[in-house]
Amino acid sequence: MSDLASQTQPVKQADKQAVAAALREVLPPEAVLYDEEDVRPYECDGLSAYRKLPMIVVLPDTVAQVQHVMRVCNERKVPVVARGAGTGLSGGALPHPEGVLLSLAKFNRILEIDTANCIARVQPGVRNLAISQAVATNKLYYAPDPSSQIACSIGGNVAENAGGVHCLKYGLTVHNIQSLDVVTIDGELVKIGGNGLDSPGYDLLALMTGSEGMLGVIVEVTVKLLPQPEAVQLVLAAFDDIENAGNAVAQIIAAGIIPAGLEMMDNPAIRATEDFVHANYPVDAAGILLCEVDGTAEEVAEQIKRVEKVLGNCGATEIRKARDEQERLLFWSGRKAAFPAVGRISPDYYCIDGTIPRRSLAEVLAKIAVLSKEYGLRVPNVFHAGDGNLHPLILYDANHPGELERTEDLAGKILELCIAVGGTITGEHGVGVEKINQMCLQFDKAELTQFHAVKAAFDPQGLLNPGKAVPTLHRCAEFGAMHVHGGKLPHPDIPRF
């Protein structure tokens, strides 16, 4: 289990009552919580294996209140952890025991919908799906659609650079936002990005996106809206060999087609979801591909024909075209419900978020299967096949002593495998506290030092979300003492074993 305190700079234990009193100078009393029963609901985010009680929880509802919170914390050197809907899967919003947990739940208003410029100005606590719902009558939508889109909020999406099943064609959060209002650690409000397609100076919009609450607190987001496609068509293909399925993905792209969504599930994932949502998936298949094409009606008709041909040539054992919108949504329902479906067949599950070059898919899945046997833990896989983002789900039972530790160990092995084939430890969930050790494997000392320097440019005292996203060199030295980096052991001259 992560020892958060060891990752952070030493923080002087601030006087809870004094900090609370300073916060209440501007915030109403009901927006400053510190009794244990009041702060307990904030002890974890979507990664519930990690829990900490925050010293204080604040629930501001104006930008001025957020600025006040930041000033109070900055003056008193109190850590600040921002939190949106709390659906994050990497512990990015895990509270700091000596810090303030800044909930943006009350920032839940859509401030402006500008259909002429195809943008919406929203507060960070607005749910991802609520944006698309609000502009649906204008035949517009917000493209990134993480599977948690019913619940997750846009501020958290920006903090993690959230993706979804349509990223290959429509990009990640970073591609779909235009500007941010950010409160800095010293309480200044800054606009990052602009009203046009670009802004002067460095691309701070890209830097803020995915920065996991380490650089500032987002209080407003201007998102780009896209016209709803005229036509959408989904094809489901079954394969009796996962390698064929992987090859089909490459061949679809080689044919010059960029599907709106291209998803893969392996047999254990198919079975789990089929039992849960009855999407009529072929439960005997080694893997299924869901390939969605969108565009003008003519374009979709033309491309879907070519997709079917490619799938047939690649050895698909069955190809089904969704007959209507209802069936299309049914086919998707399984994929989108993969996590809760897995939650039904196992007391606990642990979701991994590695990205790999697609060509390594068969190799990586085979190695995961070997590891799964070795650790005696089942691992169904769902895969954003189009963009190489793999979500192995390790099934475990936290009530069995040692099983969580084994799970974390296996997860670490799988992430190392992703790095070894040229991929990354996190495609869309973020590093948080969860993957902080693996950061030591993906980045060397100079790179980590550069990250810390970037952080210091925004937050010289290191108060924003301390201990997350970027490990200290000290931590890496401890973790990496026996680890292989870039194929080389550190200090290869030292005799071992």
Binding site: G196, E299, P357
Partner: protein, 354 residues
């Protein structure tokens, strides 16, 4: 290709410069030397560090060294039916990938396909202390660490010397056509805005003061169907027009007066003065030829919620980029110090003071 790997030499040059506090002028083919502020410094030419490092068409990813000529890179992609979707301007035969990424310029497809930063997946660079650093990677989705790859785009070489860049690439459209519709400026702006909110395969749109041109890209049937909805005449100069626009070779740009690039919301009303201007990017990028006072031009751009760049000509020793708000300026200075504590990488290229 080992001969084309000059990582060590570039690191050494930066280290030497850092030790002596010598300002470097980092550059490739110098095709964009006119852009940004004019600076002096010891030349660090990265052109020898060149070549495509890896290209896997079915992964939609290419990695190339910064000195790779853009023409060489685009030819390799073209052979596999792919392209750089952001249509980088070249401004000359010698243009390199590193220069295109550092300047952060994108062509006519930008509002529809995305900008150069949207397609950058990873960079390898040398910071101001001569350290070789790798950020991002060769995969589409990667949120490990801060997004320093994209931060490098448009930084004009002030944060690091780019060694290698990985980009997402896309298939070339099967079919393309350009339509021409004569109309007045107000109608052109509202027409472009209306297209942007409809599911049409528009890949470029430009109004030159008389004619609105629109490029459609996609499958043949999709383009044909959109063509019927949009109307207008098929433009004979189709492909050449967009290339000339991208390269600023249209007659409009043949002018020695200062050229401004104004970036504003696409719905901003047409300017009512008599200066020559041209609308690109569906109205979001406006070119203005004007000798007017910079402050007046910037004031107009700011009022519209945008910014103005003195793109070419005029006083290159003053500020050519739009001034930053004070809090932002502080963050910029600190970031510059974080990457280049000695201030030796293209100092003053972006803003006068750093």
């Amino acid at each position: 290709m080992a001969d084309n790997d000059h990582t060590k030499e570039i690191q050494e040059s930066v280290r030497t410069a850092a030790a002596s506090g010598t300002a470097l002028f980092v550059h490739g083919g110098n095709t964009k030397a006119f852009y940004g502020r004019a600076i002096t410094g010891k030349s660090l030419d990265v052109r020898a560090h060149r070549g495509i490092v890896s290209y896997e068409p079915t992964e939609l990813v290419v990695s190339a060294r910064a000195g790779t000529p853009l023409t060489e890179l685009e030819a390799a992609l073209n052979e596999c039916g792919q392209m750089l979707p952001f249509e980088p301007p070249h401004f000359g035969e010698a243009a390199t990938l590193g220069g295109a990424v550092s300047c952060g310029l994108s062509g006519p497809a930008r509002p529809y396909a995305g900008s150069v930063r949207d397609f950058v997946l990873g960079v390898v660079c040398v910071n101001g202390q001569g350290e070789r650093l790798s950020f991002g990677g060769q995969v589409m989705k990667n949120v490990a660490g801060y997004d320093i790859s994209r931060l490098m785009v448009g930084a004009m070489g002030t944060l690091g010397v780019l060694l290698e860049i990985s980009l997402k690439v896309l298939p070339r459209p099967v079919h393309e056509t350009t339509l021409a519709l004569p109309m007045d400026a107000a109608s052109a702006i509202s027409t472009m805005n209306a297209w942007a909110s409809q599911p049409l395969p528009v890949s470029a749109s430009c109004y030159d003061g008389e004619v609105l041109r629109v490029r459609l890209s996609g499958s043949e049937s999709g383009v044909r169907s959109a063509q019927q909805k949009i109307g207008g005449e098929q433009a004979q100069d189709g492909h050449a027009f967009w290339t000339d626009l991208r390269e600023l070779q249209l007659p409009f740009f043949r002018n020695d007066a200062p050229l401004w690039r104004i970036s504003v919301p696409a719905t901003t009303p047409a300017p009512d003065n008599n200066e020559p201007w041209l609308l690109d990017w569906g109205g979001a990028q406006r070119w203005l030829v004007s000798a007017r006072d910079a402050r007046a031009i910037r004031k107009d751009a700011s009022a519209a919620g945008g910014h103005a760049v003195l793109f070419r000509g005029g006083d290159r020793s003053g500020e050519v980029f739009h001034p930053l708000a004070p809090t932002l300026e502080t963050i910029h200075r600190r970031l510059k110090e974080a990457f280049d504590p000695k201030g030796i990488l293209n100092p003053g290229r972006l803003y006068k003071e750093w």
